[in-house]
């Protein structure tokens, strides 16, 4: 048989194909048939069928007895949960995400950088009527989101350049930063002020404030953000959100054992802190 265009630096073919099949499932297509999968990954039906059979016996996929179509199975969920559970930041951060949410009622995200992209690892949904769509486990570009930019800002110059090289700076809105130099300068500003803002750079009407979380070694391991609808925001609320994410990031970092004596000083504690009062029973 002819060698497929792929086939490069080796790797076990059957395993690669099995993974390709698994990855074909997505939120948009949570259920797929043998033939659909075959077309999607470019394999013969029988090959796909055999691979699916094997995956089914491991529980990684399950077949609907009625429709004959396949879905991902719970063991994958178990493994995936393990991945983040080893990220202790998620456990430590949870209460503070809730605290932020109680204070402002907006959508709160916890995210990390992976392969130059943002991965949402936890989230609390807005109680407001207008919400932004996002999902734990999903990815988002880094150069145009608050979480992404505050995480990018902590990378060494070389790493940032590599990310730009790999992912590019795709334009989403008129505000999106698409010039490498501009992004580098912007990152410098973010480092200096200790937080990042996204003002409609990914989606026109969405804005967002984010701050970085450090672990005990001082390394940035995650970031926290508040997402809100631009129309509902003014100067004061932006400052409030900035203050909220900075405080939360600081507390979470401390919870991870970080001793950030160095940073202390540039906390804008004087300014916006009291704004966060309005505790507990904030209805909506």
């Amino acid at each position: 048989m002819r060698v497929r265009e792929a086939a490069k630096a080796s790797g076990i073919r059957a395993v690669e194909r099995a993974v390709a099949i698994l990855r074909t499932f997505s939120s948009g297509t949570p259920e797929l048939s043998v033939s659909e999968l075959g077309r999607a990954v470019g394999l013969h039906k029988s090959t796909v069928h055999r691979l699916l059979g094997t995956l089914e016996r491991t529980g990684f996929v399950v077949q609907d007895p009625g429709t004959k179509r396949y879905r991902l199975g719970l063991p994958l969920f178990e493994l995936g949960s393990m991945v983040v559970s080893t990220l202790e930041v998620r456990r430590v951060a949870r209460p503070y995400l809730e605290e932020i949410h109680r204070a402002c009622g907006e959508t709160v995200h916890l995210g990390i950088l992976d392969e130059g992209e943002v991965v949402y690892i936890d989230k609390i949904e807005s109680t407001r009527r207008v919400r932004m769509y996002s999902q734990v486990g999903r990815r988002a570009p880094a150069h145009c989101t608050g979480l992404g930019k505050v995480l990018l800002a902590q990378l060494p110059d070389a790493s940032l350049a590599e990310v730009i090289e790999r992912r590019g700076l795709r334009r989403f809105t008129s505000k999106t930063i698409t010039s490498p130099k501009e992004l580098r300068d912007h990152c410098a500003l973010i480092r200096q002020q200790g937080y990042a803002l996204d003002t409609g750079e990914h989606e026109e009407l969405i804005q967002c404030a984010a701050a970085a979380i450090h672990d005990h070694t001082g390394k940035v391991v995650a970031a926290v953000s508040i997402t809100s609808v631009a129309a509902a925001m003014d100067q004061h609320r932006v400052a409030e959100h900035v203050s909220l994410v900075q405080q939360a990031a600081r507390k979470i970092s401390e919870g991870l054992g970080a001793t950030l004596h160095i940073r202390q000083k540039d906390l804008p504690g004087s300014g916006a802190r009291p704004a966060t009062a309005r505790p507990l029973t904030s209805g909506r």
Copy 2:
């Protein structure tokens, strides 16, 4: 080479081995070396190494450059998140879990039944000092937990028997139900009263109240529970917890489109049919 003791009903060996390797990772051992994995799954180092290499190129595992050890990768987390995101019950249930938590401050679990075991698909941690250890994505036996029992109680007799057959009724404490007949009777009681209690049947000092969640077809798709430390409980609080989970389960079910005005009583002891068959489908 001799055929290994396993190798029975076919299946692609390389894929099965890859899955076995992935499943060797657990919360207790989030990082493993080639040799450790080789011993764990009974394979030659070089075989494991090659499999890991392939898995690494797909991102399912990542290798720590320093220690050379392997961890699970974020793409697995993405896939796993997809599994539950398709379970809309999780999204719908979240606010109600939070509501329960605000009302009592205890640990709240959302769980489903899979392969005769409970899988926790969401959780809110207790704010109290004494907590129970659990984790989203983990499994627990069904016959001795509140969530498990209330889910088992909805199974047809044959399915319950099959679960008992497969999983057994392992004893964890002096209170654990280990007799099939006793469990069947207990399930009948649970159906009748509309909730399940676990009074130290899994862990001595832990007790728990649970209620079942129905989807729009009337099928039980999940259950919600409150877990608490037995010492802190009295009759009144147990009743309160029962009331909380029942109300939440009802609201979540409604959120899933269930119209259960007629429920509760018409749950037949002979749960042999899919609970409440509903005439949503007019034709056909």
